[in-house]
């Protein structure tokens, strides 16, 4: 029990305090779940593949290679992105999919990844089957530094997106897992300094869900990716639009941090 309570703070009644005390012991996950999580987060060192002359070592330690610029709370906010959203009971996800998705995510991403790489890194392909069919043929994925990320904001009308947004503006709960997975690709890419891949994933999300439930998070991720890619003008312009669209967003500190910490 904490003894630093202020005197005016009424204590819990004895029976409730006892109830609370009984709930203090912590019960963690089962051994199976712990092992699965461990495998997803701390994979064994893969055998050397060689042949790429100086390619980054595919170790989980790559996770620690960046994110040193913004304060932790800002980056935390930036990554509060659709976590768990859409993982409802109506959208069962085979555990195998989740595991394999993470194994893929743990692979290092290079900014020079070939166009196919992003597809290969996507956590799962099953969502493509369940997602609403795009109204236009899928555009070729670009991995150059000039990836298009000019996407409509939910509050701005865009003639080019009006047709598709009419479908996705009323975001269906079944779309949320798809949105979440797309942004998970972006987040993972961003975590590995693969800003081009992150932008491509954001772009894909914007194309399919211009007014999706996670549009706000997508924009915040895209801004951070643009800042990482040293595309400062685009990052700032997009950040301004973000601020106008979401003046009370909890992601604003992260957006500001991304802009402020942009390499000069």
């Amino acid at each position: 029990m904490n003894r630093e309570d202020r005197p005016m703070l009424p204590a819990l009644p004895d029976d409730v305090a006892e109830l609370v005390a009984s709930a203090r012991p912590i019960e963690g996950p089962s051994d199976d779940v712990r092992a699965r999580l461990r495998a997803r987060l701390i994979p064994p060192l893969p055998p050397p593949t060689g042949g790429d002359g100086g390619a980054p070592t595919p170790r989980p330690a790559r996770l620690f290679a960046r994110f040193g610029r913004a304060p932790w709370w800002a980056v935390a906010a930036a990554f509060v992105v659709g976590v768990g959203i859409g993982r409802g009971r109506g959208t069962p996800t085979p555990s195998g999919v989740a595991s394999s998705a993470m194994r893929v995510e743990m692979q290092p991403l290079g900014s020079e990844a070939p166009p196919e790489a992003l597809e290969a890194r996507a956590p799962a392909t099953d969502f493509l089957d369940h997602a609403p069919a795009p109204e236009a043929p899928p555009k070729p994925r670009t991995t150059s530094a000039a990836v298009s990320v000019s996407v409509p904001f939910p509050v701005s009308s865009s003639a080019s997106s009006s047709a598709s947004s009419s479908v996705s503006s009323a975001t269906r709960s079944s779309d949320l897992p798809v949105e979440r997975r797309l942004l998970a690709v972006a987040r993972t890419a961003l975590a590995r300094a693969a800003s081009v891949d992150a932008l491509a994933a954001c772009d894909e999300h914007a194309r399919r869900f211009p007014r999706g439930a996670l549009a706000e998070e997508r924009e915040a991720l895209a801004i951070e990716a643009l800042a990482d890619a040293k595309r400062s003008d685009e990052a700032k312009a997009r950040a301004e639009r973000f601020e106008r669209a979401y003046p009370k967003s909890i992601l604003l500190p992260a957006v500001h941090a991304a802009i402020d910490s942009e390499p000069r």
Partner: protein, 178 residues
């Protein structure tokens, strides 16, 4: 010489994961993440912890720091109303007949606490959990959650009232059930 630093950070992360997974797990549960989603949310949380660890202030207590992540992830998770129903879906409705088996008593009390916590708004619940269940002093809670000290006390006071009311309501309902 980035590799030794990265290896050290990876080793530290691994140690934290091994030691604190139960705490993170329990915190997410207390914050309203449904059991069926705990694994995925915990996974995402630890990914972020791994990313933030190299720049974390090691002089600060670890658990409030981890809890702050849990609050943020839980807040995002709970943005869908569906999850609130999922949370209850895991808790069997009271049948009005208190279990006579002692081994079930602990589970029932835990469920009561979780159900009562669910009645407390998330910001206040976070303070309540840290203070009452994790026994973290308010002087550590406030900086961990990024709130002024007085706000922390204010949230705690209201959370206590809400929690007590919820416990009373829930236990009354059980007793009233024929």
């Amino acid at each position: 010489m980035p590799e030794p630093t990265e290896d050290a950070a990876a080793a530290r992360f691994e140690a934290i994961f091994e030691a604190e997974l139960p705490y993170v797990w329990a915190s997410l549960r207390r914050l309203g993440v449904a059991p069926s989603d705990l694994e995925d949310v915990a996974h995402e949380l630890f990914l972020l912890v791994a990313q933030r660890l190299p720049t974390a202030d090691t002089s600060r207590p670890l658990r409030p720091w981890l809890f702050a992540f849990a609050v943020r992830f839980a807040a995002d998770y709970r943005r869908l109303a569906r999850h609130r129903l999922d949370f209850l879906g895991d808790v069997e409705p009271a049948d009005g007949a208190p279990s006579a088996e002692r081994r079930l008593m602990t589970r029932e009390r835990e469920r009561l606490v979780l159900l009562a916590l669910e009645q407390v708004e998330l910001d206040r619940r976070a303070v309540f959990i840290l203070h009452e269940l994790d026994e973290v002093p308010m002087t550590e809670i406030a900086p961990a959650l990024g709130i002024p000290l007085n706000t922390g006390y204010s949230r705690l006071r209201i959370a206590r009232e809400e929690f007590v009311d919820a416990v009373r309501r829930l236990t009354r309902r059980e007793k009233d059930t024929p």
